[in-house]
């Protein structure tokens, strides 16, 4: 997208964090051709202001207002739910496999967000 949807002003790319808050979400059980059921879709408010639609592994336990990390796999953005425990691990960097996974996500956040620009979606 080149122009702002509500004003005919050309947009300029910016970088945002690869994480944010769930605005709304659904699990589609009759997805269109080319997608597998169940298809988890969320609308996420990224830290920094932009919103994007992304896929996820599951929506179990997810709520409006939940915090999620956003990662790009290929050209597709995925959300993963950050539970209380996940967030604690993320911030305190505790040892253990789960902790390693979360710190890896943290490292990828800023880097992945950059790709949002190249798709013109941030």
């Amino acid at each position: 997208m080149r122009w702002c949807p509500r004003h005919p002003i050309e947009m300029t790319p910016t970088s945002v964090m690869g994480g944010g808050e769930v605005v709304t979400f659904t699990t589609l059980l009759s997805p269109p051709a080319g997608f597998k059921s169940p298809l988890h879709i969320a609308l996420v408010d990224l830290i920094g202001g932009a919103r994007l639609v992304c896929h996820g592994d599951k929506t179990q336990g997810l709520r409006i207002g939940s915090w999620v990390a956003i990662e790009a796999v290929g050209n597709v953005y995925y959300f993963s739910h950050l539970g209380t425990l996940d967030r604690a691990r993320l911030f305190w960097r505790r040892a253990g496999r789960a902790g390693e996974r979360m710190s890896a996500i943290a490292q990828s956040l800023a880097k992945r967000a950059w790709k949002g620009r190249s798709r013109g979606e941030t």
Partner: protein, 374 residues
């Protein structure tokens, strides 16, 4: 601006129909002309949402006019996704209000049941934002995203949403032209299979064929067009300010009431775009027929039923009458005309002002039309 009147209105049955779309539309248009006691219009407005992909036909305005036997009458086609019928009505209204024509036939129709459901879903889904669509977002997914927000932010309950479908099926059972004529129960809705969490099968309108037409005229008749309003919004859900209301409906309602010179308190009966049951609750509040946060409880209390304070979707709505896309906006107006002229047997309500509200695509091009008994 000249006064615009509705002199005739009619429609086909809605459902799985065998005739070609051109035939269905010609039948509806000729029936409306007979109702208006007119032989030939000055102009024709045709609307179909997507004959190019549903049928493989293009140049559809001329196609339909020729099929009707009016090959030499000026004809145009209008399209605003699922609200195309209402947009076509506006185009006909504008021609008469501007003095460009004295009698205009507006005819809308769609034929989709000959295609498999996933294909129809995909074709209808093309009215969504291309990026959001690339993530598998379909119209039911879009509606589910809105419904989830509605339940969390506005406290709308599953029972309130389900009751919309129960009520509209009860109304459809009294309409001989409706696609679904069976009553359903709250338990049936709540037990139906999940389509897009939290939306279930019985929350969604069917895939239907059908056509509807009205005859607009500059001469005084039985129903006057009091107001028409359009509202628009961004294609992408991610660019919306609110997920719990449709800005486009609010703008359309405010424009239509401004033209009418009165407010929602004078509306006696309304046809509302319930493509998904929760949309009826949102729309009742967006139009101003109920205060924000009250439409759900009012539905559960029976206020919007045939014998309620403000009967909504006496035809059965999109849910039970059916949703042949571009026919729908006009079918809503046909029902309003029949109500205002006491021609809605078994579902007739007392009324002198009727309102129709139509949603285009994911709420990007919405319309409100207000009619008054003359």
């Amino acid at each position: 601006m000249r006064d615009v009147w509705i002199a005739g209105a009619d429609m086909t049955r809605v459902g799985r129909l065998d005739q070609p779309l051109q035939d269905l539309m010609a039948v509806a248009a000729h029936a409306a002309l007979r109702d208006a006691d007119r032989e030939r219009p000055d102009a024709i407005v045709v609307t179909t949402m997507n004959p190019e992909e549903f049928l493989g036909d293009a140049n559809f305005a001329s196609n339909v006019a020729t099929h009707m036997g009016f090959a030499n009458v000026p004809v145009i086609r209008v399209e605003t996704a699922s609200s195309s019928g209402a947009a076509a009505f506006y185009a006909g209204f504008a021609q008469i209000a501007a003095g460009l024509a004295r009698t205009v036939v507006v005819v809308g129709g769609e034929k989709m049941t000959h295609l498999p459901t996933p294909k129809v879903s995909e074709l209808i889904g093309r009215s969504l934002d291309p990026y959001e669509r690339s993530y598998g977002t379909t119209m039911p997914a879009f509606a589910a995203l809105v419904t989830r927000a509605l339940m969390a932010k506005r406290g709308v309950t599953e029972r309130e949403i389900a009751q919309v479908a129960v009520k509209n099926h009860a109304h459809g059972a009294r309409n001989p032209l409706a696609h679904f004529r069976e009553e359903i129960t709250l338990d049936m809705v709540l037990a139906s299979r999940m389509v897009a969490d939290p939306l279930r099968l019985y929350h969604c309108c069917p895939i239907s064929d059908g056509a509807a037409a009205v005859v607009l005229t500059a001469e005084r008749s039985t129903v006057r067009v009091a107001g028409v309003g359009q509202g628009t919004d961004s294609l992408g859900l991610r660019h919306r300010e609110s997920l719990t209301s449709f800005r486009a409906t609010q703008e359309a309602a405010s424009a239509a009431f401004a033209m009418a010179g009165f407010g929602p308190e004078r509306v006696d009966v309304a046809e509302i775009h319930d493509a998904f049951a929760p949309f009826e609750i949102v729309s009742l509040e967006d139009v101003g027929l109920f205060p924000v946060g009250k439409a759900g409880a009012a539905t559960l209390d029976g206020e919007t039923a045939l014998d309620g304070r403000l009967p909504i979707n006496t035809s059965g709505g999109l849910k039970a009458r059916g949703h042949p896309l571009a026919a729908t906006g006009l079918a809503q107006i046909v029902e309003c005309v029949w109500q205002l002229t006491w021609r809605a047997p078994r579902r007739q309500v007392r009324c002198s002002v009727a309102l129709a509200q139509s949603i285009g695509g994911p709420g990007t091009n919405n319309w409100v039309t207000i009619l008054e008994a003359g």
